[in-house]
Amino acid sequence: MWPLGACKQAFYVVGLLGIILFSIPTAVSYVRLPSGEPFSELYVLGPGHMASDYPFNVSEGENYLVYLGVGNHLGAAAYYGVYVKFGNASDALPNATAGVSSPLPLLYEYRVFLTDGQTWEAPLNFSFSDVAFDGNVSFVRNIRINDAVFDVEKMARWDNSSSGFYFRMLAELWVYDAKSDGFGFNGRFVSLWFNVTSGV
């Protein structure tokens, strides 16, 4: 027969297990398990919804299509702005390390609201108009993004090493901060190079 002390300890253990069992429903509804480091994602896909076949050699009047995507892994709902900008090879890119966006003017903005774990994709249709070539310089005056036309007045010099007139389209990811009631650059951006040709 077990000593009384050992029996008493057994009753203590049963009592403790009972307390734990009865507190499980409350704990499950209240405790949030750690979910890992929060982050957002921004990506661009080609016309086939794949990371390929991106438009590169572009000409005036032709329509081009890519898809922009955003993913929310911040642990809560978020309000994202995807800022589309256009520049040439010498225009400054965003500095992702310092969290500084490109100084290029905002042309088109996508506004996206996502809950945690959600992703969003949307088409980005664009074309160029009023494109001119003068010697070793190319001018792009207008760009159409979706249904809106923007005056960009961008110039690019002939690149001897890469043999082309190079321009670049950027998409930057900005996130709304409810406390400051403003947007901040999230440090993420994607860019596409274009070689503007005469199309002949």
Binding site: M1, G15, S23, Y79, E109, R111, F113, T115, A148
Partner: protein, 167 residues
């Protein structure tokens, strides 16, 4: 003489009307543009306000995925409004901005209602805590009663077991 006076009066009237139109129209058109710009700005503010309401609702435990989807639709309308404004279509921009604002206000109102309902339902959580506490207490009380009985049983067993004495 009368004819000359009438013709002169006619041409003076035409001149005055043309002058008035030339002065009025340039002052009307920029006002339309400014109005559309203000309506776009108001729609943007409404979108932000609605998102803050959605965030509050989410913190209260509401599933806001449907609300977020509606806000994305409203955001797309606002982007169209900005594009129209940039293209010089002030009328279209204003209409789209008002549409965005209506959508955003609707989402904000729904978010506030859902949050109120969630907060009211929080009473259920306290009932759960109370029931867990009562259940644990009843279990421990029962365990104590069982222990008391077991101790008496153990003592009886000890007293009843006499040691054997070998001759």
């Amino acid at each position: 003489m009368f004819l000359l006076r009438s013709v002169s009066l006619f041409f003076v009237s035409v001149f005055v009307v043309c002058f008035a139109v030339a002065v009025v129209i340039p002052t009307v058109h920029p006002v339309l543009g400014e109005d559309a710009g203000a309506r776009v700005a108001e729609a943007e503010a409404a979108l932000r306000g609605a998102f803050r309401d959605v965030l509050d609702a989410e913190k209260s435990g509401v599933n806001v995925s449907g609300l977020a989807g509606r806000l994305t639709v409203a955001g797309a309308v606002l982007s169209e409004a900005e594009g129209a404004l940039n293209s010089g279509n002030s009328t279209g921009a204003g209409v789209l901005a008002d549409s965005c604002r209506a959508l955003a206000d609707g989402v904000g109102a729904d978010a506030r209602v859902l949050k109120s309902e969630a907060v009211a339902g929080m009473g259920g959580w306290w009932v759960l805590v109370l029931l867990s506490g009562v259940g644990a207490g009843a279990f421990l009380a029962s365990l104590y009663v069982v222990w008391r009985w077991f101790r008496k049983y153990y003592a009886r067993k000890l007293v009843g077991g006499r040691p054997e004495v070998s001759a």
